[in-house]
């Protein structure tokens, strides 16, 4: 239910329509081919709606208008001050159009009026376009955002890259460990299992803090390296607040999610299979490749998908450890939710992420079955 609401938000554009209903109605009648500027009625409706509109509602609408073309907000604010002045005196201009153009010449600039065209409908895909760095030009065509405002495509790519790397590292690190745990006698493996389960049970923030302590410039790892003489005192490596830090911390944090599914699959593979293969003349490496590995594929895909899905939506660790260039898409969602209050864009980013998740979730369900998730 909350998620459905969010999806609605991502295309919702009705707020501004409740503020300028008449203006937009008149606007729709404007024949752009015949006249360069909208007809008198549009200016009149806008004048009236600015004169009598509720201040808070108008303010919100202005924020929205600024998304489609910057400059709207100040233009309307200035104009509405002028309008209120003469309304107080109970004077009304003969021509609203001329009056508005006199107060500010931007009203004669058609590009502002073209931008209105994006807002006259109550449903809009603009936020989705924004989320992939696209926007409308004057003629309502979808074009790329100007160079220095393109951030999202880059972030999406980075999010994917980090998730793929994390999944890959988790697989490399997790596979031997799961194999060891699955093949040791139960007594030892239960003991070693604690090493896997303890991080799994510990607070995410604790683990993130721990990594900051470990990786910072005067932190534990740099300290050890200096002590060992690998690096010099002023050659301390910057490992945190960048992408490296994010990768290391996320790999450690998500590793248990790889080991546990792998372990549960490996445990039920009979050991006799490997022996049989070697008995038939296969070298250990070949036996492993041909006999053992194929049997672990369900575990690898389950763990891999789980780690990937979790990594792609990660927010806390990249935000804290990532610094400036480690920011992933989750950080942007939080930023628009909390700081800029551009909820439409926030919801659109969320919806795209959700769509990606659902594809993987569906895959996971196909491959492993959702009720096969095990904990601990």
């Amino acid at each position: 239910m909350p998620i459905g609401d969010m999806l609605l938000r991502s295309v919702d554009d009705s707020q501004i329509n409740t503020v300028f209903p008449n203006t937009f109605n008149e606007y729709k009648k404007w024949d752009k081919k015949k006249d360069e500027l909208p007809p008198e009625e549009v200016y009149k409706a806008l004048f009236e709606e600015l004169a009598y509109g509720e201040k808070i509602q108008v303010g919100r609408a202005l924020t929205r208008m600024n998304y489609s073309k910057s400059g709207w907000k100040s233009l309307i604010k200035k104009t509405s001050r002028e309008i209120k002045k003469i309304v107080k005196k109970n004077e009304f201009p003969d021509s609203y159009k001329n009056f508005l153009i006199e107060t500010n010449e931007k009203w004669a600039d058609p590009t502002y009026w073209y931008a209105v065209g994006q807002m006259v409908n109550t449903k809009t895909p603009i936020y989705y376009y924004n989320a992939i760095d696209r926007t409308y030009d004057e003629n309502q065509n979808v074009v790329q955002q100007i160079e220095n405002r393109r951030v999202y495509v880059q972030t999406w790519i980075k999010t994917f890259k980090v998730s793929v790397y994390v999944t890959f590292f988790c697989l490399i690190l997790g596979f031997p460990v799961a194999h060891l745990l699955a093949n040791l006698p139960l007594r030892y493996s239960n003991l070693l299992m604690i090493f896997v389960l303890l991080p799994f049970w510990t607070s995410l923030l604790v683990r993130t803090t721990a990594w900051i302590i470990m990786l910072q410039q005067n932190g534990v790892i740099n300290g050890i390296l200096v002590w060992l003489g690998v690096i010099s005192e002023d050659g301390r490596i910057q490992m945190v607040y960048n992408e490296t830090g994010t990768l290391i911390a996320m790999t450690q944090i998500l590793l248990p999610f790889m080991i546990l599914p792998l372990y549960s699959v490996m445990r039920v593979i009979p050991k006799s299979h490997m022996r049989a293969a070697q008995n038939l003349g296969a070298k250990p490496a070949l036996a492993f490749w041909k006999v053992y590995l194929p049997q672990t594929i369900p575990g690898m895909s389950a763990g891999g998908l789980l780690v990937f899905v979790l990594a792609i939506g990660y927010f806390i660790t990249p935000e804290l450890v990532g610094g400036k260039d480690g920011k992933l898409i989750g950080s942007w969602i939080a930023y628009h939710l909390k700081t800029t209050l551009n909820w439409g864009l926030c919801a659109a980013l969320g919806a795209i992420l959700l769509g990606i998740m659902l594809v993987f979730y569906w895959l996971y369900n196909k491959i492993v079955g959702i009720d096969n998730i095990k904990l601990g």
Partner: protein, 298 residues
């Protein structure tokens, strides 16, 4: 798992490399957690291993409890340092965290157990779909759940209230209960329910006398999972709690963003101890449950 005596030198090398690699990974998993514990007892506010701390025999001047005193709100002169603020925020946060955690756990456990019981019936319609929906809060990124809930709560006026946070945590924690209880119910013999009913017990009595004692280990470990989920949750609290609704994770988050103080490490140490405790409990319960059901080991 040991090497056979006829292993070739190459095999031996492989085997020891493999063991070494595993050891490194285990170290990688646990080392960060272990590193913060000694640092939290340090005198210095800089959160590093100072030279004095590494001497042997231990130098009593290098170690202290001052950050722990700071954490519990004792702001006397020997505790306060210029860079570390002192307040009772950690205490308030702890109380709030436990309050939210307990209430959310209670509701989530009740709902989750009932859901699992219903879902384990053989003739349940749309079982897969319901299960997928129930589990979804676990898979969907928290930030999306948080954003969605924020929008939704903003409409029905639940933002900035404890009720809102608790309800959100219940939604997050229920899947864990459903999963653990479902796992316990796999070995549950439905004939026992029939037997108890044929002996004249009403459904409610059957539930409390027959079903409940048998699935109790699963329910408790589910509840612990639910508790840790709620206790550890920061994203939702960040968006939906007002300024004075502090919880431990929120306070830690704020601390890490501004400047990490040793007090955060003290809290982190406490949380590590708590998780060790919870982990042990769950592990013991799991073994007990398997014994009860007559399944020998895993």
């Amino acid at each position: 798992m040991a090497l056979p005596s006829y292993a070739t030198p190459v095999q031996r090398t492989y085997y020891y490399t493999y063991l070494f690699f595993c050891a490194v990974v285990f170290f990688f998993l646990v080392a960060p957690l272990m590193a913060i514990i000694p640092i939290s007892f340090s005198v210095s506010p800089f959160m590093v291993f100072t030279d004095e701390m590494l001497t042997w025999p231990p130098d009593p001047d290098a170690w202290s409890l001052r950050w722990y005193k700071n954490m519990i709100g004792n702001c006397s002169a020997d505790v306060v340092s210029s860079t570390v603020p002192c307040s009772d925020k950690w205490v308030t946060g702890t109380i709030n965290s436990f309050f939210i955690g307990f209430v959310a756990t209670f509701i989530a456990t009740a709902l989750g157990t009932l859901a699992a019981l219903g879902l384990s019936r053989p003739h349940m319609p749309y079982k897969g779909l319901i299960m997928a929906i129930l589990i979804s809060p676990m898979i969907v990124p928290l930030i999306i759940t948080a954003a969605g809930m924020f929008f939704f709560y903003a409409r029905i006026n639940l933002v900035y209230s404890f009720t809102g946070i608790i309800l959100a945590h219940v939604a997050l924690a229920t899947p864990f209960v459903v999963i653990t209880v479902t796992a316990t119910l796999v070995g549950f013999d439905m004939n026992m329910v029939k037997a108890s009913q044929s002996l004249g017990a009403k459904p409610l009595r059957t539930f409390f006398k027959i079903i409940m004692p048998l699935i109790l280990p699963g329910v408790i470990s589910g509840a612990l999972f639910a508790f840790i989920t709620s206790f550890d949750e920061v994203v939702i609290v960040m968006f939906m709690a007002s300024l004075d609704q502090l919880t431990i994770p929120k306070q830690m988050w704020a601390g890490i963003r501004q400047e990490i103080s040793p007090v955060i490490l003290c809290m982190a140490t406490c949380l590590v101890v708590l998780s060790i405790f919870l982990l042990t409990t769950v592990e013991l319960l799991r073994r007990r449950s398997e014994k009860l059901r007559g399944i020998t080991a895993r």
